[in-house]
């Protein structure tokens, strides 16, 4: 009887066989997430309209192939989470600059996801000087050649932009 059942099952292509019976928490929107026509396309413009993501998924015969995807909800959530975190640091920095506690350099450092070490490496300005320039008094007195280096690091077109922290 069992062998009859097995031979009957083998008539079907592999993908139709219940290989997922062990899946304890049945939830159909993710049970066959790797099937090619069910690769998620949850677009939140995280790929900037510039490209799509290659995903591996199986076709009707259970054979793997590639499918282009615009995104997947859980991944979008964690990407958004990471950016919310960065943006909240930037916003805090902006407030501190406006309150006069920190120089605009601090705002741009946060905006470019840098710390003192990384900013120093990119700009070629020593760490202790970068730290000094995080204070408004010193930053306002910085040489134009120094400001120029910072502006280049942050992809700003002029040193004047260094003093605009986006009200």
């Amino acid at each position: 009887m069992v062998s009859l059942l097995l031979s009957f099952m083998s008539l079907f292509p592999k993908s139709l066989q219940p290989i997922h019976l062990s899946y304890h928490n049945l939830n159909f929107d993710r049970l066959f997430v790797m099937k090619k026509d069910q690769v998620p396309q949850d677009d939140e413009n995280l790929l900037d309209g510039k490209t799509r993501d290659v995903q591996y998924a199986v076709d009707q015969n259970g054979k793997y192939m590639t499918v282009l995807s615009l995104g997947w909800e859980p991944k979008n959530i964690v990407m958004r989470q990471a950016w919310n975190e960065i943006n909240s640091h930037v916003e805090d920095a902006r407030k501190e600059v406006i309150a006069g506690k920190k120089s605009p350099l601090f705002y741009f450092m946060q905006k470019n996801m840098m710390d003192v070490k990384l900013l120093s490496e990119y700009s070629g300005i020593s760490r202790w000087k970068v730290r000094k320039h995080l204070k408004p008094r010193h930053f306002n007195n910085a040489k134009i050649s120094v400001l120029d280096k910072y502006a280049k690091t942050f992809n700003l077109s002029s040193t004047d932009d260094l003093f605009r922290v986006g009200e």
Binding site: Y23, M34, L46, K50, T51, A57, L68, Q81, W83, M113
Partner: protein, 332 residues
């Protein structure tokens, strides 16, 4: 100078660069094949190494590993260079392109102008190929992009000398010689064995399935240890590593399953197909982990989405993968 080079997309940048380079030299292999032979499947959890204050869980080996392993397996001769002087590095690249040699480059993505903005973090282990220079613009094949790209001299120099962790230092690599006959079957077996060893055979708690278990146990403690907000950031980081551009889904599990399928045909071994299906199942579990973790990160708890439940799920994944790799190892 433009080389007759064919750009093709891939899920993972290093695989993609290798696949495209090998094809240029007449060795046609799929991305999963390159990934499997190069033993690209990996896991490590390094809680003491923090990126932006968040412990690092990695689903890939260090950049360059896959390239080194696959070329070694086939007896392909290569040349790798690093530079101190950016101008010299660019000059050397020009010389290579003049000779008509497509050249692999290690770059950072932060200043990579054509890259999707939301992905431009300070990440320095991206691989691209330069295959020509026209009017001072470099022609770039980036496996992550659907079409080939262009970069100016300044922009390319900048990304080749990105700063921060794992500085690329203008690293270039290219193929100098491909042997006429390569033994793919032998290389496949070797690649599988290596992956089995890495996933199950390392000492200490950080690497392979033990690393997954270690991560699982840490996750359960995170809310108490670092507070709800940080715990959710930590968890989000794991999911980002797992699903970010370039894994093909589920932290490379689906790609590895695709490799096992191909290997099954190549070696005429049905049990590899069976193990591929089991690998797909663990891939689904990783996806399930991402779904639940995502809901936790979003602050939408369901009763089943606690840190304890995702921790339990990871432990189950570790057990399953350990079984798979033990079975795989016993095949050869």
């Amino acid at each position: 100078m433009q080389i007759n080079f064919q750009h093709r997309m891939a899920a993972h940048c290093e695989n993609g660069v290798i696949t495209n380079l090998l094809r240029y030299y007449g060795l046609e292999l799929s991305e999963p094949m390159v990934f499997g032979i190069g033993s690209g499947l990996f896991f490590s959890y390094l809680p003491f190494l923090k990126l932006n204050g968040i412990p690092v869980a990695s689903f890939r080996p260090l950049p360059g590993f896959i390239f080194r392993r696959i070329t070694k397996a086939f007896g392909i001769k290569t040349e790798t260079k690093k530079f101190r002087n950016p101008e010299k590095a660019m000059k050397e690249l020009d010389i290579m392109l003049d000779k008509g040699i497509p050249t692999g480059l290690l770059v950072g993505v932060f200043n990579l102008t054509y890259f999707p903005a939301p992905y431009r973090f300070h990440f320095n282990a991206h691989n691209i190929i330069a295959y020509g220079k026209e009017n001072g613009t470099y022609l770039i094949s980036d496996p992550i992009m659907e079409t080939s790209q262009a970069l100016t001299y300044e922009d390319l120099k900048r990304v080749r000398f990105a700063k921060g962790i794992l500085k690329p230092k203008g690293k270039t690599y290219h193929i100098t010689h491909v042997p006429e006959n390569v033994d793919i079957k032998k290389a496949v077996v070797k690649g599988i064995k290596k992956t089995c060893n890495e996933m199950t055979g390392f000492r200490g708690p950080l690497i392979g399935v033990k690393g997954i278990r270690y991560l699982a146990k840490s996750i359960e403690k995170w809310p108490k240890k670092v507070g709800a907000k940080k715990a959710s950031l930590y968890l989000g980081q794991v999911v980002r590593m797992q699903e970010e551009i370039g894994t093909g889904g589920a932290g490379f599990r689906f790609m590895y399953a695709a490799f096992l399928q191909e290997a099954s045909g190549l070696l005429n071994e049905d049990r590899l197909w069976q193990l591929s299906e089991e690998m797909t199942e663990t891939g689904d579990k990783w996806r399930d982990f991402a779904v639940r973790a995502g809901r936790i990160c979003k602050g939408r708890y369901k009763t089943s989405d606690s840190y304890a439940s995702v921790s339990e799920l990871l432990l189950e994944i570790a057990d399953r993968e350990e079984r798979i790799f033990k079975k795989l190892k016993d095949l050869f």
